[in-house]
């Protein structure tokens, strides 16, 4: 193993981008995210110690307290939760394919995409996207690209659960 002049071992980073994409039941909690990362823990560690990542970017989709209700003339109403419906297994495959495509298109070092299925309450996280690249430009572009294409191609729908 190579050693940095500071004495820290340098692990060889993976040559292919790390891609992980999962649909998880309920809100994306820290425990749920940790479990999703566990399968590739060694590769994630090698990547972060390999010295090729210059920028990481994390996006979280969080359920807001209020949304506009089209059936109430667009009036804003309080939410209890959002219910996410997925068309399986196309949604899981679609999320994986999109993650791999975005990683390749933008030359990322890694991408992690997690999306909820089922009920997610106000203030809870329903979507996590985390990317790593050599420079900030590709991470910013990749996050925007992923979310735009998610909202066009991946079969996930949300339904408002209104308060009162």
């Amino acid at each position: 193993m190579r050693v940095h002049p500071a004495g820290v071992p340098i692990e060889s980073p993976p040559t292919m981008p790390l891609v992980a994409a999962h649909i998880l039941e309920g809100p994306i909690t820290p425990d749920a995210e940790a479990a999703a990362r566990r399968a590739q823990a060694d590769r994630w560690r090698a990547l972060t110690r390999g010295g090729t990542v210059g920028a990481t970017l994390r996006f979280e989709g969080i359920v807001r307290r209020a949304e506009r209700d089209p059936e109430a003339g667009g009036r804003e109403r309080d939410l209890v939760a959002l219910d996410y419906q997925t068309y399986d297994p196309m949604a899981q495959r679609g999320l994986e394919t999109l993650a791999a495509s975005v990683a390749e298109r933008h030359g990322l070092k890694s991408i992690l995409a997690l999306h909820s299925r089922g009920r997610v309450g106000v203030g809870e996280v329903s979507f996590v996207l985390e990317v790593a690249g050599a420079h900030r430009a590709e991470t910013l572009a990749a996050v925007a690209d992923f979310i735009d294409r998610l909202k066009q191609d991946v079969p996930i729908w949300k339904r408002a659960v209104w308060a009162g």
Binding site: Y84, Y87, F127, K151, D153, P155, I156, W157, R159
Partner: protein
């Protein structure tokens, strides 16, 4: 030939059902995606807000997007995947 189309989200809410069916005369060996979309426009006008144009639009057939001349055969699973709202 009878083609069932699975519905989700706003389309399912409008139809008050998780699927609709369209009927075709003929030998029953298959029907093109564009013809299924055209039939949905004609036979289910309440779904038009969610339907893509027949000639350029797509359906999910056995969990892959397909459009135009792609043939849907008996036993294929067909779904309308539009107005998605992930993220």
């Amino acid at each position: 030939m009878r083609v069932e189309v699975l519905l989700f989200g706003g389309a399912a809410a409008a139809a008050k059902a998780d699927r609709v069916a369209v009927e075709f005369a003929g030998d029953g060996r298959g029907v093109a995606v564009r013809d299924v979309l055209r039939a949905l426009h004609e036979q289910h006008p309440g779904l038009r807000f969610a339907l893509p144009p027949p000639d350029s639009g797509r359906l999910a057939v056995n969990h892959d997007f397909a459009r135009g001349d792609h043939t849907i055969r008996p036993g294929d699973e067909v779904a309308l995947v539009t107005l998605v709202g992930g993220g």
